[in-house]
């Protein structure tokens, strides 16, 4: 996949499509800026004028609650006009192609598209076919990437642990269908995590994952031993066509995160989940709602991180028109 289109000729970030190939400096810059946006959410007037007069279209060809909502809030706190389109219910069902939909919206002077689609590479495709002053953020494409989720996860880890360098991290569950896991792995590696483990049934761990420098295991105890951060993934039953997991009860018994299994991790281990959670399937309610869980902090942090990404790619756009 072509990642050069994320940067302009001067090396400035103009689209945010994948964290794969981005420098540590770029990622750290986004996280640092997000810290300042956190305080905006704590003010009397939770708005700054950076994107005043800009139009942001949330173009979601797949359902989403938290990602779409936090992008909407992020855009509004930056003073942009935000339009939400659940395209699955619109023109696409009438046979219009994605690019025709995007071109139509571009003709209405959209400045930034936030795109989610079930096809890998959809956001790249759109970015390639738009004029240079229009920006694109990937809000999840197929099994490929979900870079803003990975960034809010990195932000949350950094806030809780103070750093990412040197941490041991286990990513647990359905890695096969997970665009979140792919983006997390790239971000963790770039930001200097000491060890990344992929834990889950063999049927749900992609075979090529070890080429990314990730140690794969189907042994939950071994995978959890001594880790600082436990990143749970949602079991994506809607994407499974074959028999990839035996039964839900057996899956929970072996891979569901419970307080008992969590004892194998470091005593101060942090538990994360991108949501929506399947309680009693990949995680017990006791852990999800327990003191180690930062699942709701992840949602809150998503706003500041998405504001940071939007402001970073939209700044300085005028010169290129």
């Amino acid at each position: 996949m072509n990642r050069d289109i994320q940067f302009d000729d001067a090396g400035k970030l103009r689209h945010f499509l994948t964290v794969d190939g981005m420098s540590r400096e770029t990622l750290t810059g986004i996280l640092d800026t997000a810290e300042s946006f956190v305080t905006v959410g704590e003010r009397e007037i939770k708005k700054v004028p950076l994107l005043r007069g800009k139009t942001v279209v949330n173009l979601f060809f797949e359902p989403s609650t938290r990602t779409r909502t936090t992008f909407e809030i992020a855009g509004k706190r930056l003073s942009a006009d935000v339009i939400n389109l659940n395209a699955a219910r619109m023109s696409v069902t009438k046979g219009e192609s994605i690019l025709d939909t995007v071109r139509t919206l571009e003709a209405m002077h959209t400045d930034l598209f936030v795109v989610r689609d079930s096809a890998s590479g959809a956001a790249h495709l759109i970015a390639k076919h738009l004029p240079p002053h229009v920006r694109v953020i990937n809000a999840g494409d197929g099994r490929h990437a979900h870079p803003t989720q990975a960034m809010l996860d990195m932000f949350t880890i950094r806030r809780v642990k103070g750093k990412i360098e040197g941490l041991k991290v286990a990513i647990i569950g359905d890695l096969l269908h997970s665009r979140v896991a792919r983006s997390q792995i790239h971000a963790l590696k770039t930001l200097g995590a000491a060890e990344i483990r992929a834990v889950g049934p063999r049927t749900l761990i992609p075979t090529e994952i070890e080429t990314l420098g990730v140690a794969a295991t189907s042994d939950m105890e071994k995978g959890l031993r001594g880790v600082d951060v436990v990143m749970m993934l949602r079991l994506q039953r809607e994407r499974m066509d074959g028999q990839l997991v035996p039964s839900e009860r057996e899956y929970f018994n072996r891979y569901g995160l419970t307080e008992e299994k969590l004892r194998h991790a470091a005593p101060d281990a942090t538990v994360m989940h991108p949501g929506p959670i399947n309680r009693g399937l990949e995680i017990s309610s006791g852990v999800a709602d327990g003191p180690r869980s930062v699942i709701l902090e992840q949602v809150t942090n998503g706003i500041a991180v998405r504001m940071s990404i939007m402001a970073t790619i939209m700044g300085g756009s005028e010169e290129r028109i």
Partner: protein, 163 residues
């Protein structure tokens, strides 16, 4: 060349002018980075020592569309400003655009009773109708001259440079 003077003397001069403003329990707010340095030292000259805040106006700049976001942006940290008297402090008043942005940001936190503008150096080149209430010194710089404040471990110094 212009003699910008010693910042410590200018700040003493500013403190006397601030006293003449007859402010009631003011909040002292410095603008990052130079304004914060000046405000910290000015605070020592005001009795009783006022509440303190810092402002980073990066999110309110009017050149965001042209130059983008300052990568060094810091979080603003303000005490409650609603119905308070405020001394807004910056190092150099030049075009007035920084002050415009700072005023906008302060109003996102509440409605102050009164804002008084205190600067270390006031120079020509205004692009907005903004004037200081308190100025350490006025320097008649030309368009190709700039005055810079630097901070060496708390020791402030001023230099006039050609650009």
């Amino acid at each position: 060349m212009h003699d910008a003077g010693r910042p410590a003397d200018l700040i003493k001069n500013m403190a006397a002018q601030v006293a003449a403003q007859k402010l009631s329990k003011p909040v002292l707010i410095g603008i990052h980075s130079g304004g914060v340095w000046v405000a910290e030292q000015l605070r020592a000259g005001i009795s009783p020592a006022p509440e303190f805040g810092t402002l980073d106006i990066s999110f309110y700049r009017d050149d965001f569309s042209r130059v983008g976001l300052n990568p060094q942006v810091k979080a603003s940290d303000l005490p409650p400003v609603d119905r308070r008297d405020i001394i807004l402090v910056d190092d150099v008043l030049h075009t007035g655009r920084t002050i415009r942005a700072a005023l906008n940001e302060i109003f996102s936190y509440g409605r102050p009773e009164r804002i008084c503008l205190a600067v270390l150096i006031e120079r020509p080149g205004r692009e907005l109708p903004i004037q200081p209430d308190v100025a350490g010194k006025s320097l008649a710089l030309s368009a190709n001259e700039e005055v810079k404040l630097s901070n060496d471990g708390g020791e402030l110094s001023l230099d006039v440079v050609k650009i």
